[in-house]
Symmetry: C2
């Protein structure tokens, strides 16, 4: 039985492990969790005692097989609840993250499985992220790529975004960008890593910050 805090740490470690293969440093994890490195040290010791992560002093941490499976179950719940909120309760995909952060901690495997069935076994959440099944297995069907990594003249449709802040969603709304929106990269500027894209016939310039957060599936 894990506390909400422990679950959030596991999720954060999993998320960071997706971006980089090496072990996760204390400082990096502290930043992700919006807390202090000393607090992280305390927590990784605890999670290590529970054999959910491997941890050596000064060497960062890494999920064990059990830890990874546990993290995936939390992610599974988060994404299923997001589907519920958007598909059944008519929330916008830009307002479900915070609520799902709470719902993901509800303890009942039966509830999760019933919810999944009720939703018709969805494969992806409203942000385009894949939903692990009860064994933690999910298809990496969305070989999505950040706008910043798309080749010149590359074209595709939006399948997901990173960053959960509402400010970013406001931004997307302003430019009428949603799941499925067609985007083509017209020019790439090396000096500031910004990109000029074509959306609905209009040319728009995106900073590298934005270009790193919008993911499209190239055709």
């Amino acid at each position: 039985m894990l506390t909400q805090s422990e679950e959030n740490y596991l999720k954060a470690i999993y998320s960071l492990s997706e971006d980089q293969k090496e072990s996760i440093s204390t400082n990096l994890l502290a930043e992700k969790m919006s807390t202090k490195p000393s607090s992280v040290t305390d927590m990784v010791k605890k999670l290590s005692d529970k054999e959910l992560i491997s941890y050596q002093k000064y060497q960062g941490c890494e999920l064990t097989a059990i830890g990874k499976k546990t993290a995936l179950q939390i992610i599974r719940k988060h994404r299923l609840w997001e589907v519920f909120l958007v598909n059944k309760l008519n929330f916008g995909w830009d307002e479900v993250h915070e609520i799902a952060e709470q719902l993901e901690h509800i303890q009942s495997a039966k509830l999760t499985d019933h919810l999944e069935e009720y939703l018709g076994y969805p494969k992806v959440d409203p942000h385009g992220d894949p939903i692990p099944d009860k064994n933690g297995i999910f298809e990496k069907i969305n070989k999505s790529i950040a706008l910043s990594d798309v080749n010149l003249k590359g074209k595709g449709s939006v399948v997901g975004v990173e960053d959960g802040s509402s400010g970013f969603f406001q931004f997307l709304k302003r430019y009428e960008i949603g799941l499925g929106t067609e985007i083509q990269v017209m020019e790439k500027f090396d000096f500031d890593l910004s990109v000029l894209v074509l959306i609905n016939g209009k040319e728009i310039s995106f900073s590298s910050v934005v270009a790193n957060k919008i993911f499209i599936q190239v055709k």
Copy 2:
């Protein structure tokens, strides 16, 4: 912003206030919360500081108007989630209490309201208890009465039960008692306050403990 513990105390105080008009004693609340009186003293001080209850040393506590409203919002969430679990996810009415105990603490008024709409504005939960609206108002349409209080030869259908323990639900299942089951009180024994009832053509004797927990709507 209240902690889950604070919310649970408010709910308990509300529940006890339903049974008796006087202020709630520390010991009684401790028993209800399955904790020690000293812990209760600490908590009622905190809730009193927040003006959710009125509390005078050695005099017990009582919900303020704001405290009552807050408690009713938690109860509202609990019961709406129970309806969801039973009506949408096909849970039995005897297995939803524990999960609803967790879901009732999810913080989002918008979620609660959307859920209510999605469920079609139900008036009662699967146990027959009324669901308060967003202003904390609910109809006391179910003038249900405990089996122990039904007059001799009184007849009616089950509209609710008290006690959330799974043992009790097992008991009900064993005797095939559910919402709507017809019950008639055939005899009442003063010496042990037990009752002899007629259910589905069979005569069954209920102890006073049980008779206090089954509520019927007399015709």
